[in-house]
Point group: C2
Chain length 407, copies 2
Amino acid sequence: MITGTDWFQILENPSIALPAGFSAKGVHAGLKRKRKDLGIIQCEVPASAAAVYTVNAFQAPPIKVTQESMGVENKLQAVVVNSAIANACTGERGLEDARQMRDQAADLLNIPSHLVAVASTGVIGEYLPMDRVTTGLQRLVTETDNQPAAFAEAILTTDTCTKEIAVTLEIDGKPVTIAGVAKGSGMIHPNMATMLSFITTDAKIGPDHLQRLLWQTTDETFNMITVDGDTSTNDMVLVMASGYAGHRPLTGQHPDWARFQAAFQYVCEALSKMIARDGEGATRLIQVRVEGAPSKEAARKVAKSVVGSNLVKTAVFGEDANWGRVICAAGYADPSLNPENMDIWLGPVQVVKKGMATDFREELAEQVLKQDVVEIRLDLGAGMEEAVAWGCDLTYEYVRINASYRT
Amino acid sequence: MITGTDWFQILENPSIALPAGFSAKGVHAGLKRKRKDLGIIQCEVPASAAAVYTVNAFQAPPIKVTQESMGVENKLQAVVVNSAIANACTGERGLEDARQMRDQAADLLNIPSHLVAVASTGVIGEYLPMDRVTTGLQRLVTETDNQPAAFAEAILTTDTCTKEIAVTLEIDGKPVTIAGVAKGSGMIHPNMATMLSFITTDAKIGPDHLQRLLWQTTDETFNMITVDGDTSTNDMVLVMASGYAGHRPLTGQHPDWARFQAAFQYVCEALSKMIARDGEGATRLIQVRVEGAPSKEAARKVAKSVVGSNLVKTAVFGEDANWGRVICAAGYADPSLNPENMDIWLGPVQVVKKGMATDFREELAEQVLKQDVVEIRLDLGAGMEEAVAWGCDLTYEYVRINASYRT
């Protein structure tokens, strides 16, 4: 988790079109009733690209088609995204539809198909209405101006707000911008939560280095959020780097590598937290920090277990300092732990010391639980590793949304 | 899953005092405001005993004390249970309290301590009020008559009803009875759900055979239910066999072993389903049957994933035939699966064939979802193994209960 911003700046009015070379647009193609539902990110040149995908066995056709595109040279010049229909569990026809969506966009842009990626999010098991996609693409590519806010809207499903972030830093004395946009909301769980996230940058960096950076960062950010424990068929995080910033190519040997890495992680972490905070029905962001773990893996597992526990989530919703549920969720995540070494804090209030309740003042703990961001910290007393996970509370509204999603 | 009852009978007015040699009682000791909260099961003789415990790292003191007792000779003559306070995360003092609870009961019964087991369920992190436990035990043992229904009540927490079952069958031509009682409700997840379950029988069977039978059966029954994915610190299933039925000792070689095993499994499965159906806030029992799995383990994993998915659970609550969530939950449970081999039924209605939607009539599927028991069946098309898991829908009431459990 990064909090310092002394050597990079968070930009106001962020958008994925801020890095040099990029533009983005969105239109209403008629997949949703009224709201925007089809968008595109374009780069003036073939950009270095990297991606991570859902681990769900049932990867949706757009995931497969994007993998096909990336397989050629790990470069992309455009990403086309639709919401409302996930084009998942749609068999051969779904695969054909996703390929057509890609190829039509490539034709309109007059670039090779393998420079285009596609992504879809929405209901599983329905076919894309290809006539609407086709006319929508035409309008999107040929008649619409750069309007990144419209893209941010076009990818939403049950999200209540758009999610954008942009930061700038210097590399070799030249300004570099990294920007990101995401959608989340439901079916959000580690290992590519049900979410789409697109990151653009004008940094100069090869596809291999970009891919390694993305893998590393994803484990600390996108894979550390959970809304409901359900891993979607369509998750994807995609990064494109235009190289327009003009510094020497970034590699692990570049003196500014660590700074770039940290700024990149900041962007991913910010998007992850926005997704968790806007989880279906959520009223609060829950941040669980685990320290003193015997291994990184154990730290992550315990953090995700606590933040993903329905009982912890409902306790936070009820503003109930029920630390027993926190310790219980830690206990079933890692059977090797010894409760007698464990300390727990709610915000600044220590509620558990060596596995037992402190005589904390309930009112102070409740104050913590009333915050928009609820911080739970565990020290397992079993090592030096740590991890942070993010999630949200479980509310009546989550049940309402998901008991009637399709109807 | 057993449905045939041709060679055993389900008894009306079931109780754990039906098997010969057993009695049970319950009183209000003052741990709860009004309802019964302390109970005991007694046997006239030291009974063969077997137990399985929570896999949560933070096993509560009563679990440890029961393990101490069992460790001596795997025989028990009494089990003392309290509700309201779990005596978990209570350190050395909690361990002392649990031992005292056991030893006081043993003194009152005039039997060795190691023939007494203890169990607790309720809030984590609070100490037992030992003065109330002491006076409660005195009344329970010395002043109260056999009243198994009072025991069934005394072990409840947020349960809405008592859970009892009894069956009878013949072994060597002699009548044998197996009876069970359970409490469940919240923190219910495979690997000993947050639940307590006690089974009595007058069968003649050694502790070793009883323990093996319990392990086998638990994997197919108690470990296949989930309410909220949280595995408690206090789970325990305990079996006592008095041997009063007078047949030849049961072993794997006995000609009636398979029948005894099946009747025993029926009791465990019935209790498991009662626990799932009475999950916190539940309006329906969900039964997920997975067929065509490559291994038993895969079948169980997929079944538990589907029945445990918050999105499937809310869809059932909303009577929404959202099969996409079912296939998605199967897909993240086992990344080796091929969706194109998968069929799914809601009750008798096939909704997915070879990974894609059939043109089923939505009204028929909704009829299935209105039943008190909702059956979801998946054929993975990947082998011959199968498994069944049980759970319940996720409702507003679940959120209400758990947002305000302590207050």
